[in-house]
Amino acid sequence: MKRTSIRYAVAPTVAALALGLSLSACGASNEQSSSDQSNAAASAGGTLSGTLNGAGSSAQQAAQAAWTAGFQSANSGVTVNYDPSGSGAGVEQFLAGAVNFAGSDAYLDDTQLPGSKKPCNGQTAIEVPDYISPIALVYNLPGVSKLQLSPDTAAKIFSGKVTTWNDPAIKAENPGTTLPSTKITAVHRSDDSGTTKNFTDYLHQTAGSSWTDEAGETWPFKSGEGANGTSGVVQAVTSGKGSIGYADASQAGKLGVASVKVGSSYVAPTADAAAKAADVSKRVPGRATNDMALNIDRTTTESGAYPLVLVSYLIACPTYKDANTAKLVKGYLDYVVSKDGQAAAGKAAGSAPLPSSLSGSASSAVQKIAAK
C-alpha cells in the first residue's frame, strides 16, 4: 500500500521536471549551429572576441541564425547565442539584465520603457527595426490559384461571418474565378504570437466595423481552428481542404497566397511590398531619437505597399558597463542592419531588406552604442 502511494507522488513530479527540461531544451537548440560556424571560419580575422547573448522573438530565429553565422565568420573569436524563446520572454530577460540584447516583435510599451533604465545604466534602451517580413494569407482551395481579398472580407472570414467560399463577398472581389461551395476553415495561432498581433492590428485598423477587437497576441475569438506555431498553421491549412490561415510569407510553401486590397488595387506579399509599407510608416511620437519604434501604417493606400507586415526589433542598451560587451553589441547590431546582414536574412528567412530610410537611422543609432 505504502509503495504504491509513493509511486503516485512521483508521477506528477517527474512530469513537472520533464516540462522544465523540455522548455530549456528549446533554448539550447540554436547554439550548436553557431559553434560550427566559428570553427569553419577560424582562419578569418576580426578584432572582436567574446560571447554575446541574446534572446527573444522566434520569428527572427532563421534570420538570427544567418546573422550569427555571418558575424562569427568575420570575427572568429566571437560567439553569439540567440535563444528564440519568444518576444515576451526575451524582453523580460533583457529587462532583468540576463541577456545583452533582445529581439522582439513589439517595441517596448510605455510601461516597459522606464524599466529598461535598470539594465542600461540609467538610460532607456534603443530599439532598431531589424527584421521586416510580410505575413501571407495562405489558403488551400483546389482549383483556385488566385485569390483577392479586401481587409473587410478577410475580417469576415476570420471572425466566422463568412462561412463558405462561394459567399457573395468573396465572389465580388474575384471576378472570373469559379469558387466552390466548400466550407471555410479559418486557422489561427493557438499560441500567443507577434504574428497574431500584427494580423489583428491590421484587421482592426483596416476592416472597420467588421473587426472591432483590439490588436493582441492572443486570438480574440473562441471559434475557428487553432494551431501551434507557424508550422502548425501551415500544416493545418495544408491538410484541410477549404482552409485559410495567416503565416510568415516565407513559410507558405506550395499553398495558395492571397493578395490583399491596398487602395484600389490588390498587392501580393513580396519582400519589396513589405519594405515599402515599413518605409511609409511613422515613428511612435514622444520617443528618443535612437528609439525607432514604428507605428506601421496599415491603412496606407501607397501603391505596391503590403501593410500586413511584421516588423521585429532589436532592443539593446545605449551604454554597457563592460567595454568589450559594448563593442560586441555595437559590432553585431551594425552587421545586422547593414546591407550584407539584411541580404543574409533575406536569403535565409525570406525577409525584406530594411528600406534605405530606416537602415540609415538604424545604423547611426547603433553606432552610438558605447561603454559607460
Binding site: A11, L19, G88, A89, D192, T218, S223, N228
Partner: protein
Amino acid sequence: MSRPRQRVGDRIFFNITRLAGLLILLALAGVAIFLTTEGLPAFTAPSDALGGAANFATYVAPLVFGTLLAAVLALLIATPLSLGVALVISHYAPRRLATPLGYLVDLLAAVPSVVYGLWGLAFLGVRLSPLYGWLEQHLGWIPLFAGPASTTGRTILTAGIVLAIMVVPIITAITREIFVQTPTLNQEAAFALGATRWEMIRLAVLPYARSGIVSAVMLGLGRALGETMAVAMVLSASGVVSINLISNTNPSTIAANIALKFPDSTGLAVNALVASGLVLFVITFLVNFAARSIVARSERSLA
C-alpha cells in the same frame, strides 16, 4: 531477541535509500511551494492578464473541463484495449509470441510525445476527418457529434485517441504483471469446475487483479492529465466549454495551454499560467487519493 549487530554496509545502504526518499519529497515540496507562491498573484489578477476572463475561476474552469474531457476520452479507449492486450500476453498468446509482443508494447512508451504529436497532426487527424464527416451526417443528433465536422481532424477526439495510445503501454505493463501473478491454484480450480478460459479469467484473474487494474488506470490517467506536447500540437484549442467531439472548436487543456502561452507571456499572465499549473497539480493529487481509497476498499472487501 537481541538487536542484531548492524554492519557498515547496512547503515550506508539504509542512509542512501533514506536520502533518495527524502530527495523526492523535497522535489515535490519544491514544486508545490513554487506553484503556490508564483500562482498566488493570479487569484487577484485583473481580467486583461487572464485573457479576458472575469476572475481566475472563470479563467481556469474551461481548461479544467478540457483536461478532464481529454483524459476521460483517453481512458475510455485505453482501458479496455490495455486489458485486452495484457490478457493476450499473460493468458492467450503462446510464450513465443507473448514475449516479443510485450516488448513491442513497452516500446510504445519510449516514443517521445512530440513524435505522437506529429503523427496525430499530420497522419491520424487527416485520416480521421472523413469519419468525423460521417459521424456528423449520421449521428449528428447526438450532441457529442453535433459538428460542424473538422476538415483537418484536429479535434479533441483525435487528441483523446493519441493520448490513449500513449497511455496503453503504462496500463498494459502493470496489469500484465498482475495477471501473470494470479495464483495457479485458483486458475486450475476454476478449470476443474468446468470453467471455460473466459470464465476462468472472469472468476479467478480479474477479481485477483482488481486493485492492480485500478492503480494502473490511475497511473495512466496521471499521464493523460499531464501530457503537454502531443495535445498542444494535435488539438485545435479555442478555450470553449463544449462536449462536441468532432468540431475544430475545442476546449484546451491546462498543460497544453501553459506550453502554448508561456513563451510570449509576461507579468501577471505568467502567474496565471503557474496558478493553472497548481490547479493541475491539485487535480492529479485528488485523483491519486481517490484511486488509493478505491484500492484500499477493494482490498478490504477481498480480505
